[in-house]
């Protein structure tokens, strides 16, 4: 394998882990960090070149050699610096950039805006990736990746098909999916199949499933074959990841309890989420756990900012009888150790983020889901303009089976997955799922620039 040049900004958890992985594969890695004390660590432990400075400054980027790099990864702890660095790195000649941002919403809702404004080829949020991983485990889903379309109103999930999945056991026409959802494609090896009603998936295949954000979980639940609703779920910690996990579980669990140690934050949570039970206290306090009936929890998820607290809380919850345990562990040494013990599912944000970036590299720097099948299809976003031939047209007359599908329409801010009788209007925003062979037809039927 040819050695590549990678530049990583930020010697934090994600940056270090990624640098070590890539350099151990024989690539040339340069790490940029403002803190001169990181030099020794980077050079000796990560086997990478160190450039001290601010990655959002041109001289630093030049010293790191962005112009000759294969990829620039902005993974410092500052979103603003990461975004600025991406833009500058692109200007300085970096062929592509990956930018890490903190919160989920930056990706789900404003992802495309950021990508365009700052020249980022891939925008990722550790929090979002971590939430997805936790939900997968707790709910038994098989989501490999999620793409957010139309400002997050529509999601496409790439899902692994297991034996027992509804998509394996039944023909597509016999799978009763909720309104607002659609199986776009089945991926078998490197082949992308846009399915007809007669098709069904094989274990090991992947499915691309599209749905509006309010039904996509129900779809995933159906497909996974784990159709039961969870009883009580207990979450230790009330930070941002805990909030997004709790929100993600809301429709799937009967009761959600959140244990938060800080009184102020506990009160905030109680005000913001009246549907959850907020407990003020220490997640490693056996008497609290006992009194709150943690032992009968179907799932216990420890998401505080402290690794030891998370692990300890899980062990105590297990002692009390909680069934399924998940712990967030930041330090990789600790997480691999606990993985070996095998009592609980260990979720490591930095490993997840680094894996996502390596996937991106291994897939020829193709950031979007569909291209996992070798660019066989793509999503195109368009607005229906007054002069568009499709203005006033019926979808049934536009769509080309297995080639061009109007996957979703956003009208007056509301997303819909339309059927063949749907009539397009001027100003509708459409998300087209288009096979490579039909791209020119898509441009002809839906002229204009890419909709935001």
């Amino acid at each position: 394998m040819e050695a590549k040049r990678y530049i990583i900004m930020g010697a934090g958890e994600v940056g270090r882990y990624l640098a070590r992985t890539l350099s151990s594969e024989g690539h040339r890695v340069t790490v940029i960090d403002q803190d001169p004390a990181k030099r020794q660590l980077v050079e000796e432990q990560l086997d990478a070149r160190f450039v001290q400075g601010n990655g959002a400054h041109v001289p630093t980027l030049e010293a790191a050699g962005v112009a000759d790099s294969d990829l620039f990864v902005a993974a410092s702890s500052s979103d603003e610096a990461n975004l600025a660095a991406s833009l500058l790195a692109k200007r300085a000649g970096a062929p592509r950039t990956v930018v890490r941002v903190a919160t989920s919403e930056d990706v789900t809702r404003y992802g495309r805006t950021y990508e365009r404004a700052f020249g980022a080829d891939l925008l990722l949020s550790t929090q979002l990736l971590t939430t997805t991983r936790v939900l997968n485990h707790v709910l038994g889903y098989n989501t490999l990746e999620i793409e957010y379309l139309a400002g997050g109103a529509v999601q496409v999930r790439r899902t692994h098909i297991e034996a027992g999945s509804l998509l394996h056991e039944r023909r597509l026409s016999d799978v009763d999916l909720p309104r607002g959802s659609l199986v776009l494609a089945l991926i078998s090896g490197s082949r992308l199949i846009v399915p007809t009603g007669n098709d069904h998936a094989q274990p090991g295949d992947e499915a691309l499933v599209l749905g509006t954000s309010d039904v996509i979980d129900e779809v995933e639940k159906k497909i996974s074959g784990h159709a039961q609703t969870l009883g009580t779920v207990v979450i230790a910690g009330g930070g941002s990841t805990a909030r997004s996990v709790a929100t993600g579980l809301e429709r799937q669990a009967r009761t959600i309890k959140i244990i938060e140690q800080r009184r102020e934050r506990a009160e905030e949570l109680a005000a913001e989420f009246p549907q959850f039970e907020i407990l003020h206290g220490d997640a490693t306090d056996m008497s609290l756990l006992g009194a709150e009936g943690i032992g009968s929890a179907r799932a216990f998820i420890a998401l505080t900012g402290n690794d030891e607290t998370n692990l300890m809380a899980c062990l105590l919850a297990q002692e009390l009888g909680a069934q399924q345990l998940t712990a967030l562990v930041q330090k990789s040494e600790t997480s691999s150790l606990w993985r070996k013990v095998g009592l609980l599912e260990v979720v490591s944000p930095r490993t997840i983020a680094a894996e996502r970036i390596r996937n991106y590299i291994n897939n020829n720097y193709e950031p979007h889901i569909v291209s996992f099948a070798n660019g066989a299809a793509q999503f195109i976003h368009r607005r229906v303009e007054r002069r568009s031939p499709t203005a006033g047209g019926r979808l049934g007359d536009i769509e080309i089976p297995q080639g061009l599908i109007v996957a979703a329409v956003l009208r007056n801010g509301k997303a819909e997955v339309p059927d063949g009788d749907y009539q397009l209007e001027i100003n509708d925003e459409v998300v087209l799922f288009v096979r490579e062979s039909e791209v020119s037809t898509a441009h002809l039927l839906f002229p204009g620039s890419e909709a935001e």
């Binding site: 031939p389 062979s437 037809t441 441009h443 002809l444 039927l445 002229p447």
Partner: protein, 153 residues
């Protein structure tokens, strides 16, 4: 729907002697207006240019499919024109365009319009057909080539 059902053979142009996008549209509109009394050339040019302003109908591989609606027309009509040397039509692949297929439809044509567009777009997908269409010498041969391809799809 067959292409041959809507193609106005008398309006086919074997060799466009023009250089600009506007002139291509003008030549084709005038040729069509000459044989179709329901079409007013100036009005059609205006409609086509408005559509081109949104995004070029040059879909790449040397093919453009200008199209638009015309008040007072009672059926779909189409014509074809060639430019052996190629014309800059702002096509999506940035390459010059040799084949032009013009589609004009009534104001209220429903699904026919979109079906015709999609069919024409697919019609030019086969590289062998495009090559043949560019190579044949007479008007008769051009019509024959289109007829033959039409029967295949």
């Amino acid at each position: 729907m067959k292409i041959m059902d809507i193609l106005v053979k008398e309006a086919v142009i074997l060799d466009l002697g023009v250089r600009s996008k506007r002139d291509v549209l003008s030549e084709m509109a005038n040729a069509l207006a000459k044989v179709e009394p329901q079409i007013e050339a100036e009005k059609l040019i205006e409609v086509l240019l408005e559509r081109e302003a949104l995004q070029s109908t040059g879909i790449g591989e040397g093919v453009a499919i200008p199209h638009g609606k015309m008040v007072g027309l009672d059926r779909l009509v189409a014509s074809f024109a060639r430019s052996p040397q190629g014309i800059d039509f702002d096509s999506i692949d940035g390459q010059p365009t040799q084949h032009f297929f013009l589609l004009v439809v009534p104001e209220h044509s429903g699904g026919q319009y979109l079906k015709a567009l999609a069919r024409i777009s697919r019609f030019f997908r086969d590289p062998a057909f495009r090559e043949k269409l560019g190579a044949v010498e007479t008007l008769h041969d051009v019509i024959d080539a289109i007829d033959e391809e039409d029967a295949k799809l």
